[in-house]
C-alpha cells in the first residue's frame, strides 16, 4: 500500500511541479488533492449518548416528506429486523436508520445512526457521468433528479451503501438519499432536522474543523471511554458526518475496511492512461500499418522485377 501511495504522491508532485513550471504566469498553484471546503459544516455522532429513540428517523421522515413507515417510529421491534442477514439500511422510504448492536462485555447495547456521511470528495459525485451530484460549500452532497439517467453507478461507488433507488417507480424513478436538509435548513444556517430532534445531544452540528476538535477533546478528557479514533476524519477521504464510539467500530457495524483516501484515487490509474492512449495509439498503429505496407510493396517490387 505504502509503496503505491508514495508513487502516486510522487507522480502528483511531479505533475504539479511541471504544471507550475510551464504555467509560470499562474499566480497560485492548485493543490493536487481537494481537502474540503474550509467552512463546511458537519455533524459529530457520539454513540455513547444515543439511546435508540428513533426521534431522528421520525424527524427526517417528516422534514423530507417521505412516505409513512410500515411500523410507527416508537415501535422498537424494528431493531430485530433482518434482511439477507443484514440489519436495516437506508432505502427509498428512509434517508436515515438507527440500528442496535449488542456488544460483548457491555451491559447496554449501542445504537448507531446511519445516513449519508457527506464525503469531502464523494464517490457518488466523482462516479456520476451526468454531474447529478454537487458538494456544496456548506458541506452537503446534494442530488439533482432532473439530469439523472438512473445508471446507479453512485450506488455501486458509495463505500457506505447510502444512495438508494426508487425501483418501484416506472415513470419517476430517482436516487433517494439524505441531502443534509440542504435547501430547507442548511442554507439558512440551521442544523438538519435529525440533529434538532435528538433529545440526548448525541448529534452535534457545527463546522467540521470545530467538530474534530470537540471529538478529540471528548476522547482526551474521558480516558478509556472512547476508542481513540474518529470515524470519518479520514475514511473515504474524510466525511462531514463523523462518529466517536465507546466500542471498537467494527462491533458497531462500521466498515473498517473503507480506505482512508477518496475512492476516486483508485480510479486515477485508469483516468491517467486515457490521454496517453488517445495520443500514442494513432502513431503506434499507423506505424505498424506503414511497416506492413512497406513489406508488401517490397514483395510486390521483387515479384515485378522477377517477371521482367
Amino acid at each position: 500500500m505504502n509503496i503505491r501511495l508514495n508513487r502516486r504522491g510522487f507522480i502528483q508532485g511531479g505533475l504539479a511541479a511541471s504544471a507550475a513550471a510551464t504555467v509560470s504566469l499562474a499566480g497560485t498553484t492548485q493543490a493536487a488533492t481537494f481537502e474540503g471546503y474550509p467552512d463546511s459544516m458537519g455533524v459529530l455522532v457520539d454513540l455513547s449518548r444515543c439511546v435508540g429513540c428513533r426521534s431522528c428517523e421520525a424527524a427526517c421522515n417528516q422534514e423530507q416528506h417521505l412516505p409513512a413507515p410500515e411500523k410507527p417510529f416508537n415501535d422498537f421491534s424494528v431493531f430485530d429486523e433482518m434482511l439477507h442477514g443484514q440489519k436495516r439500511r437506508t432505502d427509498e422510504t428512509r434517508y436515515t436508520v438507527v440500528n442496535r448492536y449488542e456488544i460483548p462485555g457491555r451491559e447496554h447495547p449501542l445504537y448507531r445512526k446511519i445516513q449519508c456521511n457527506h464525503c469531502q470528495e464523494p464517490a457518488c459525485l466523482t462516479s456520476c457521468f451526468v454531474n447529478a451530484y454537487t458538494k456544496t460549500p456548506e458541506g452537503a452532497v446534494i442530488y439533482n433528479p432532473d439530469v439523472c439517467v438512473g445508471c446507479r453507478t453512485c450506488m455501486v461507488a458509495c463505500p457506505f451503501y447510502i444512495p438508494t433507488f426508487r425501483y418501484s417507480s416506472a415513470f419517476h424513478p430517482r436516487i433517494m438519499k439524505c441531502v443534509f436538509c440542504y435547501d430547507t435548513r442548511l442554507t439558512k444556517g440551521r442544523p438538519p432536522a435529525c440533529v434538532e430532534s435528538c433529545p440526548q445531544e448525541a448529534l452535534t452540528f457545527g463546522r467540521r474543523t470545530d467538530l474534530l476538535d470537540m471529538a478529540r477533546q471528548r476522547i482526551r478528557e474521558n480516558p478509556g471511554a472512547y476508542e481513540n479514533h474518529i470515524y470519518g476524519e479520514h475514511e473515504a477521504g474524510g466525511t462531514a458526518w463523523m462518529y466517536i464510539s465507546p466500542a471498537p467500530f467494527a462491533q458497531v457495524g462500521f466498515d473498517t475496511t473503507v480506505p482512508k483516501e477518496p475512492i476516486l484515487n483508485y480510479v486515477k490509474d485508469f483516468l491517467s492512461i486515457v490521454p496517453m492512449v488517445l495520443t500514442i495509439w494513432p502513431a503506434l498503429f499507423a506505424g505498424f500499418h506503414l511497416l506492413a505496407k512497406r513489406k508488401e510493396t517490397r514483395e510486390q517490387q521483387t515479384k515485378n522485377e522477377g517477371e521482367v
Binding site: R4, H84, G85, Q86, R89, T90, D91, A123, T126, S127, C128, F129, V130, N131, A132, V147, C148, V149, G150, C151, R152, T153, M155, V156, A157, P159, Y161, P163, T164, F165, R166, Y167, S168, A170, P173, R174, D255, T257, V258, P259, I263, Y266, V267, D269, F270, L271, I273, V274, V277, L278, W281, P282, F285, A286, F288, H289, A292, K293, K295, E296
Partner: protein, 417 residues
C-alpha cells in the same frame, strides 16, 4: 425453398441481377427471392424459430411490465446490488465478446494480413451487433431510458469513467456501422458509398483500436469505484483496466470462432467456397492469437495478486472459487488452443473457443455480481430478469441471422464491387 437445404450448392441472390438478366429489387432481396408463402414455410419448418417464439411469448410481456411497473417488478436488483443480470451479462459480458471487430480490423487493415479477409466482415458484424445489443440491455436497465443521450448533450460529467464508456460506445458504434456498411452498400448497389468507406478504412480501424482499448478498459475501471465491495481476487485497482482489455482480446477472437463455426455448420447455404475453404485455417490462426492472449492474461492476473499481496485469499473458499475460474476459464482453453493449433486440430480449437466465451461471461458475472458485496450476501436474479436477458439475447440472435442471410458477410458479392 431449395435454397435452405445443404444439398444445393448455389448461393441465392449473390449478384445484382437475376439469372434472366433483370435486376433484383430490394424487396426481392429482403425476401431472399422467395414468395411470401415460401418464406413462411421455411420459417416455420425451422425448430429454432419455434424456440424463439416461445421465448418472446413470455419475454415481451415481461419487458412491457418493466416499462410500466418499474424495474423492481421484474428484477432483484436492490440498493445493495444496483447492477443485476442486464448489465452483468448484457453490458459486461457482451462487450468483451464484441472486441472481434477491432481485432480483425487491426489484423487485416493495419497488420496487412489479407489472408483473414474471408472472416473479417463476420468479425466486424459480430462487433457491431454485440455493442448495439449492449446498448439495448442498457436501455432495459437504465432507470430513465429516455435520457440515454443526457451524458452527451444535456449534463456532462467528463471526469467519470462511465462518461468515457458512454462516449466511446457511441462513437465506436458509429465507426462499426461505417465499417459494416461496405457490405450493405454492395448489397444495395451503391458503390460510391463503398469506395468512400474503403478510402478511410485505415482511419476507421485506428479509431476503432483507440476506442476499444479505452472502453474495454473503462468497463474494468468502473469496478475500481468499488474497491472494498468486490472480492480482492477479482479486483486489482491498478490493473483492472488491463485485465479487462486483455481478456477482451481472447473473448473477441473466440466469439468469431464460435460464430464462424455456427455459420459453417448451420448456414452453409449462405457461405461461399472462399469462406468454407479458408475457415479451418483461419480458425487455427485465431486460436493462436487466443492462446497468446490467454497466457498473457494469466500472467497479469498473477501479477495483480502479487501486487496487492492477495495470496492469503487463495486459501479461503473464495480463493478456491477463484482458482476454479482460472483453471476452467483460462488454463483449460489456453492448453486446448495451444495443443489444437500445434497439432492442427481445428475442432479442439473450436471447443476451446466455446469454453473461453463462456469463461469470460463467467468472469464478468463474478466481478459484477457473484463476488460483488462479498462480505454481505449473494443476490439471486429474479426468474423474470433471467427471462428478459434471454429474450434480448434471442433478439440479438435474430438480427444477427437476418443480416447474415442477406448481406455479403459470409460470401462475396458477385458483379460490380
Amino acid at each position: 425453398m431449395n435454397i435452405f437445404s445443404k444439398s444445393t450448392p448455389e448461393i441465392p441472390i449473390a449478384t445484382p441481377c437475376k439469372p434472366d438478366g433483370s435486376v433484383w429489387s430490394i424487396k426481392e432481396k429482403l425476401w431472399l427471392g422467395l414468395s411470401r408463402q415460401q418464406y413462411q414455410d421455411q420459417f416455420l419448418r425451422n425448430p429454432v424459430n419455434w424456440l424463439l417464439i416461445a421465448i418472446f411469448a413470455i419475454g415481451v410481456p415481461l419487458i412491457l411490465q418493466r416499462y410500466f411497473a418499474g424495474l423492481g417488478s421484474i428484477t432483484h436488483a436492490s440498493d445493495d446490488y444496483p447492477w443485476g443480470l442486464f448489465l452483468g451479462f448484457g453490458l459486461f459480458g457482451m462487450v468483451p465478446l464484441s472486441a472481434s471487430g477491432f481485432l480483425l480490423g487491426t489484423t487485416v487493415e493495419i497488420f496487412g494480413r489479407k489472408d483473414f479477409i474471408p472472416i473479417e466482415r463476420l468479425a466486424l458484424l459480430n462487433g457491431l451487433l454485440g455493442y448495439f445489443f449492449a446498448v439495448v440491455y442498457l436501455e432495459i436497465d437504465l432507470g430513465m431510458p429516455w435520457r440515454l443521450y443526457y451524458p452527451m448533450f444535456v449534463s456532462l460529467g467528463p471526469a467519470a469513467v462511465l462518461f468515457l464508456v458512454a462516449w466511446h460506445v457511441a462513437t465506436y458504434l458509429s465507426v462499426q456501422v461505417a465499417e459494416v456498411s461496405t457490405a450493405y452498400f454492395e448489397w444495395i448497389g451503391w458503390l460510391k458509398g463503398k469506395r468512400f468507406i474503403k478510402s478511410i478504412a485505415v482511419g476507421l480501424t485506428i479509431s476503432g483500436i483507440i476506442l476499444s482499448t479505452l472502453h474495454q478498459g473503462a468497463l474494468g475501471a468502473l469496478f475500481t469505484y468499488a474497491p472494498t465491495k468486490i472480492h480482492p481476487l477479482w479486483i486489482s485497482t491498478n490493473f483492472q483496466w488491463v485485465h479487462f482489455f486483455c481478456s477482451a482480446i481472447f473473448a473477441g477472437l473466440s466469439m468469431v470462432i464460435v460464430a464462424s463455426t455456427l455459420c459453417k455448420n448451420f448456414l452453409t447455404w449462405r457461405c461461399d467456397r472462399r469462406f468454407l475453404d479458408s475457415v479451418d485455417e483461419l480458425t487455427l490462426g485465431l486460436g493462436k492469437g487466443c492462446a497468446y492472449a490467454l497466457i498473457t492474461y494469466l500472467v497479469i492476473k498473477v501479477v495483480g495478486i502479487a501486487h496487492d499481496n492477495d495470496w492469503a485469499h487463495l486459501l479461503t473458499g473464495w480463493g478456491k472459487y477463484f482458482l476454479l475460474e482460472m483453471a476452467l476459464a483460462v488454463i483449460l482453453p489456453m492448453v486446448l488452443f495451444a495443443y489444437g493449433v500445434k497439432h492442427q486440430k481445428v475442432n479442439m480449437v473450436r471447443w476451446a473457443a466455446l469454453i473461453s466465451v463462456l469463461g469470460i461471461v463467467w468472469n464478468r458475472l463474478n466481478t459484477s455480481m457473484i463476488c460483488f458485496n462479498w462480505q454481505l450476501y449473494r443476490e439471486i436474479p429474479h426468474w423474470k430478469e433471467v427471462w428478459v436477458t434471454v429474450t434480448i439475447f434471442a433478439l440479438y440472435f435474430i438480427v444477427y441471422r437476418f443480416i447474415l442471410y442477406r448481406l455479403p458477410i459470409l460470401y462475396q458479392w458477385q458483379g460490380d464491387k
